[in-house]
Symmetry: C2
Subunit: 208 residues, 2 copies
C-alpha cells in the first residue's frame, strides 16, 4: 500500500517548525534558519556533510512519487494570487521532479517547471489533494512537504503513516508550533528509529 510520509521536518526543542513573521527575506520566519543549519551543512543542500544527516535527507526522497504542501510552504503570497509571477522558493528547477499539489483557497492554473516538477493548485481541501497526489504517484508513496498546519492536519486525522522529525537542539522561544493539540492522535504513533548527529536528533515515528 502506498504510504503518506513526511521527512526532515525540522523542529526546535520548544516545538516550533518556523520562526515568527515569515517574509520574503525570512522564508523560515525570524530565527527559523537555526532549525535548518544541519541540513545546509549536508551535501544535498550545498554543504560538505556526507554522514547521518545527509542519509536522512536522501531517504526522504526515496520511493516518493508525488508531494502535497500547504500554500504557505509554496510562498509568502497571501490571499488571491495577484499574478503568475511567484513560482515557489526553489528557482526554475525545483528539487521535486514530480507532481506537487499545493493546497490553497485561491485557484490558479498548473505551473510546469523545469526538471519534471509541476505545481497543481487544489482548492477542494486536503482529502482531494491527497487523492490526486496518490493517483499521480501511481503506486509510489506521497510525501507531505509541509508546512506545520498541513502536517498537523494529517496527524490529527490519522492520515500520516510516517513522520521523520529532525529535532534541532535550540530554543526558538516563539514561532509556528508543529506538534500542538494532537490529543489522542499522538498515542497512535510509535518510535521506529531514534539517532543523533552532533547537530540534530532524528526521530522516525510510524503509525500503529
Amino acid at each position: 500500500m502506498p504510504r503518506l510520509r513526511a521527512h526532515n521536518i525540522a523542529v526546535s526543542l520548544d516545538g516550533f517548525m518556523a520562526g515568527p513573521d515569515q517574509t520574503l527575506e525570512h522564508p523560515m520566519g525570524v530565527g527559523g534558519m537555526r532549525l535548518h543549519e544541519w541540513a545546509f551543512a549536508a551535501r544535498s543542500f550545498g554543504g560538505a556533510g556526507d554522514g547521518l544527516d545527509e542519509a536522512f535527507i536522501q531517504r526522504g526522497d526515496e520511493g516518493v512519487g508525488a508531494t502535497v504542501m500547504g500554500r504557505n510552504m509554496f510562498g509568502p503570497v497571501r490571499g488571491p494570487w495577484p499574478d503568475e509571477r511567484w513560482t515557489g522558493w526553489w528557482g526554475d528547477e525545483p528539487p521535486y521532479h514530480h507532481a506537487v499539489f499545493v493546497l490553497t483557497h485561491h485557484p490558479r492554473d498548473p505551473l510546469e517547471m523545469q526538471g519534471g516538477t509541476t505545481f497543481y493548485f487544489v482548492t477542494d481541501g486536503l482529502e482531494v489533494a491527497l487523492e490526486r497526489a496518490f493517483a499521480a504517484a501511481d503506486g509510489a508513496d506521497v510525501r507531505v512537504g509541509g508546512g506545520a498546519d498541513m502536517i498537523r492536519q494529517c496527524l490529527r486525522a490519522g492520515l500520516l503513516d510516517e513522520l521523520h522529525l529532525a529535532v534541532a537542539p535550540v530554543l526558538l522561544g516563539r514561532g509556528e508550533r508543529l506538534l500542538d493539540d494532537l490529543g489522542d492522535a499522538g498515542a497512535g504513533y510509535t518510535c521506529a528509529e531514534l539517532v543523533s548527529s552532533d547537530a540534530v536528533a532524528h526521530v522516525r515515528l510510524v503509525r500503529g
Copy 2:
C-alpha cells in the same frame, strides 16, 4: 561560581513534561510514565541499563549540594497542608541526601528524612528559595528538580545555567508543557551536547 542546573528533565516530542491529571495513582499524569521508561530501564532506577542513559542520570547528581523544587513535584496535595502525613513521593529515604527547598504558598515545618534529606518549605518566592539553596549548598551547585512551572520560571528569568533535557520519542498529545512562551529567553541558550540512546535523546543546553 556555583551554578543552577536541571538534569534528566524528560519531555515528549510535543513538549510535555507530564501528562494531564496528576494524582496519587498517576504521579506523572496520565500517560506521563512513557516519558520516563528510559530512566526506569537504567540501573539508578532499578533497571539493568548501564550505558549512556545511566551515565546522564548519574551526572545529574555530581557536584550538587542542594535542590529546589515546586510544590507539585513534592506531591499531589493542593492548597493548605491538611496534616503532616505527606512526606514526598520517595519513601523514608529520598534520593537527595541534602537540603531540598520546596516552593509553596502554604507554610509547613521542615521535614527531616532518613539519609540526610531535609525538606524546607519556602513561602517567600523563587528568589528566596534559590538564596537559601545556594547557602545550603555551600559552594556546590544547586539543582532545580522540577516541575515544569519552576523550570520555566528559571528559564524565563535567565537564572538557569544548564538544562539537560531527555527528549523521549513519543507524542503525548496533551499535558503540562515545559518549554512554553520562552520568548527571547530561549535565544540565550546554546547546545553544549547532543547524543542519543535507542530510547531517548539527551540535549545539554547552557546559557551564553
